[in-house]
Symmetry: C2
Subunit: 678 residues, 2 copies
Amino acid sequence: MEAGDDTPGTQGRPAGGYARSPLPRDKGAISKLIKEKISVLFQPSGRRGEIKAGKTVLQAAQELGVPLESICGGKSTCGKCKVRIQERGLEKSDFSGTRLSPLTPEEKKFISPDERKLGYRLGCMVQLYEDTLIFIPEESRGTQQVIRKEAREIPVDLNPAIKAHYVELSPPSLKEPLADFERLQSALHRSYGLADLSIDWPALLVLPQRLRSEEWKVTAMVWMDREILDVLPGKVEDYYGIAVDIGTTTVAVYLCSLRSGQILSSGSLMNPQVAYGEDVMARITYAMVNPQEGLTRLREAIIDGLNTLIRNTSEAARVSPQSILEMTVVGNTAMHHIFLGIDPQSLGISPFAPALHRSQNLKARDLGLKVHPSANVHILPIEAGFVGADNVGVLISETPYQKGEMSLIIDIGTNGELVLGNNRRLLSSSCATGPALEGAHLRFGMRAAPGAIERVRIHPETLEARYKVIGQEKWSDECLPEELQSRGICGSGIIEVVAEMFRAGILEKSGRFDGKRSSPRLRRNEKGQEFVIAWAGETAIGQDITISLSDVRAVQLAKGALYSGARIMMKKLGVNRLDRVVLAGGFGSYVDPERAMILGMFPDCDLEEVVSVGNAAGDGARIALLNRGKREEADRVAREVEYIELTAYPEFAMEFAEAMLFPHMKDPFPHLEGILKK
Amino acid sequence: MEAGDDTPGTQGRPAGGYARSPLPRDKGAISKLIKEKISVLFQPSGRRGEIKAGKTVLQAAQELGVPLESICGGKSTCGKCKVRIQERGLEKSDFSGTRLSPLTPEEKKFISPDERKLGYRLGCMVQLYEDTLIFIPEESRGTQQVIRKEAREIPVDLNPAIKAHYVELSPPSLKEPLADFERLQSALHRSYGLADLSIDWPALLVLPQRLRSEEWKVTAMVWMDREILDVLPGKVEDYYGIAVDIGTTTVAVYLCSLRSGQILSSGSLMNPQVAYGEDVMARITYAMVNPQEGLTRLREAIIDGLNTLIRNTSEAARVSPQSILEMTVVGNTAMHHIFLGIDPQSLGISPFAPALHRSQNLKARDLGLKVHPSANVHILPIEAGFVGADNVGVLISETPYQKGEMSLIIDIGTNGELVLGNNRRLLSSSCATGPALEGAHLRFGMRAAPGAIERVRIHPETLEARYKVIGQEKWSDECLPEELQSRGICGSGIIEVVAEMFRAGILEKSGRFDGKRSSPRLRRNEKGQEFVIAWAGETAIGQDITISLSDVRAVQLAKGALYSGARIMMKKLGVNRLDRVVLAGGFGSYVDPERAMILGMFPDCDLEEVVSVGNAAGDGARIALLNRGKREEADRVAREVEYIELTAYPEFAMEFAEAMLFPHMKDPFPHLEGILKK
């Protein structure tokens, strides 16, 4: 496909996409009509902006910060990004050669002939070549993901790596012609005791003019008491940092003031790498089978995504990206390697040796991140082949190594990461859970955003369901359910639903639907058996929100992996009971400990001692952002924790099979008995 | 000139040039005929290569490493780069719109109508748009500058910043899955005692694949025992460094083996910044009056020039630029600032404060230098506003701070730099000498290259002159003078000529021609008085090689500045006599101490104690390249030397006026008397 590179339609599109979205053959005819930049207007938000011609609606929405749902990450497999192309698009929606890319076979699967007439298209498929007005229907409106971590108060001593030091210098004279840098350094030494400072090259380049234009009154931004990153005019009141958690499925960032430690804004999006593979192994494979460009594409995808989040969060907080002077990053080993541009191949092959463990400090400009070019990006250390910097983030946030009690920490993501231990010894391990517990890959799964069902109760006799959605205080039986504008089920919601279905007897211990129960909500159609949580009339999407057998199976696989991992680690440590269980992960979705226990996500424990902490990995990134001493702690604990490879244990397969059942095939759950009887 | 940017003819041309070389107005007609790349063949060298269309012959010659004389640095003011455009150029030399840029008014000054018919053009003016054969006539053939420093043996303990450490690692296993970097680090610790190593990002990116493809047998290239710059396959036998001396007029580089310390090749060229100003102040002014692009252009000019030298010297030494892992750089303060991209403005205004003094370490990739991208570029520290890293190079090469005797070191360049002192106290200062002593700006001045007259003797009675050229053993009276192929006079030659003219009585003490002397060699024409060193018939250029009154005046100004500087420093130190005088500078041209004394370049001293050391600044760069301990010494001495600003002394003007005379208006020269009587 030699000529493909300059085909206008492929501009900015991930490669995974364009094989599915063939362009009109007559390139010449089109290229004459192509504008370099086009205007788009999104409704109902009214957001307007310029984009490169040839971009998809989804890309345009991401660039302009318009929320558009995209569960599959632009792979045209979820059909959740339906949009209506309005102005002038209507009459030409079958593509007359100028305005839109033609309807793809994938779109035909999701868009009915009637919808086509109305101008409906998939946002991830349709490419724009002229000024366009796009309407995003309610069900496709990806609202800003809720990151509830803002609510969680973490006690952190504020001691950021960056400090702002104001100085007034005496100007040079023929008698005292000391150079500008040495003059600044001696003032910083006099006033703040800083010695042996270096200066980042770009800061040196502006130094002479800056000192003179500011009449020798400036603020030096100093990193780790050793490098001047910039010299700013006058007194600097506030400056900022961003903590980043790169999950396999979701990327979250927290923009913090480094003066107050407060979170000023936060944001998240689907990891754009999802287009190249849904889990870690798929992405490693993608990099392996595309040795020339695979890694580059994966890396550019995450860098672009982070730049979008940087732009959006700094706009929301009304701060300039230039005043963001520090970033901390956590992520699993593969995300870590790809972010750094390291080929992740060796992570995909036994013995899964990573390229390095230790933490790294790199310049934002070298990584391509659009904050202050001299900003330092601190990437936390990793533990082992599959236990990455995200787990180190969990560790410095939960600090099991400071406690005498035996803790099990379960970090739920596309990969589940487990830590077991106390102040004497810590083990870590990793298992594949799939994206179900993050709300992805379920028929009505969605991210933790307003409208997502997060709590469910099912009456054991009537099988009536009531629910609560994110962003609303009331349950569906406390108001008109349509007021809740429910749109789908988030990760913590799916745990509730399945646990409640099991408790109400809709599901058997094996996960099958109990054929003896009957209710209007329980039905069997061409897609198999399903249970209705919310009726079409109550929802914002005009469809029944249901849970199918395959959704239940996805949850069983995930929880089985976690449970069996915990069992093997307990054996290895010689531990029979857990003092404490910490449930982390699932961005913004707090897992209900009781329902997690009903499902059997972990071995028995006093329910009082099971806590749900949300995105602890992201908390760890934020802690390391706000307190540089925590970085040393992270380096130390990353070296000390012992990684165990679960698949190296012959008993793992059997443990896994037994743990698939609700709550387990044979393990006793003394603490659960009272609950199940309720 | 909005449209000028994409005018094909301006590609790659310095801005200073294109105002003088207007392009045909009909851009459309030309652009259709433009090829992106064209082939050029230089004769008689036979060198062939591809260049971008629109480049000048001079640029093409520089790119392909073909020696073409260019005293003025491409400013079309010296007329020394005359070339003959041959193939198909002949019939179209008046420019028919396709092949060459049109003849400029500047070219008309140097090229006679007869020459035009033969296809002569100025290499710096004529731009090429089609495949072309170019003949370089003898007089324009810039031969490789002689850098005699290769001959100078400097005792340096070989202790380069880069060391090559071979290691064999055990591959990872499930039981021992340590990360690649930590595995390498522990092997380096075990075998070589290296701890706390970091790794440069690009090296980390290749590490996993490199270790595996090389079966865990690699050589780590470690900088300063602290950073791994690269991990190379198997055992590395040799690796290289380049020492760079950026002079205002001439740039010199020395490619050394870091295993043996030997110079493998060396090269020099006219500093391409000459196109923007001949001396330091002119270039600072250029940067000031072109605030947007001036500095960028100056910086790109020197980086391009260095990349040409890197390419040429590594080709000559048959080493890959990728295996050059370290560079050291010296230069005066302005060259230092521009090289780093620092606006030199404050150097041009009293109190002449530089941006920084301390030495810098930067990555070659950040500077745009085409050696190994992870190579460290060490820029030596500077002393003061006008005493730069070049002088620090002289200091660590001559080490006056280790000696009890009172030394005066004169570093002759476009700026003269002076050091006076001993192991108790050291002073430095700077004065403007102009480029005359580097062989530039004289009617027949040239760089120190084969054919350059470097030694001259004039019989005091007959006024007959005999001379010796670089590259030949015999004097002109020991062979047929035409065998010597003389082409001009180099910097050391001009000192000899003027000293001999004075000693022979051709010049008076004031520098005027003595009207009472007569000889066929002494004549007055429309250009004023002149003395013939070599007759046209003897030379390779077919013209008399002469010295004019204005050439003599240029030498007087230069030597007067140096002498008066030395006097003021001696007063400041309370010193009446010099134990030792060191003459440095003038790339490749060894100044004859006796003749320098006859001219009065410095106060009286025992001639036995006057030594000529050539390019000591370049030696210093080389010493710092080969021995990292010398870098610390350089940092220390740069801090300790006391800079004095000569122009701040009211007596400077009077001293200068008196010192313009040969050898001086009134100072006694007891050590000279015997010599002058010879």
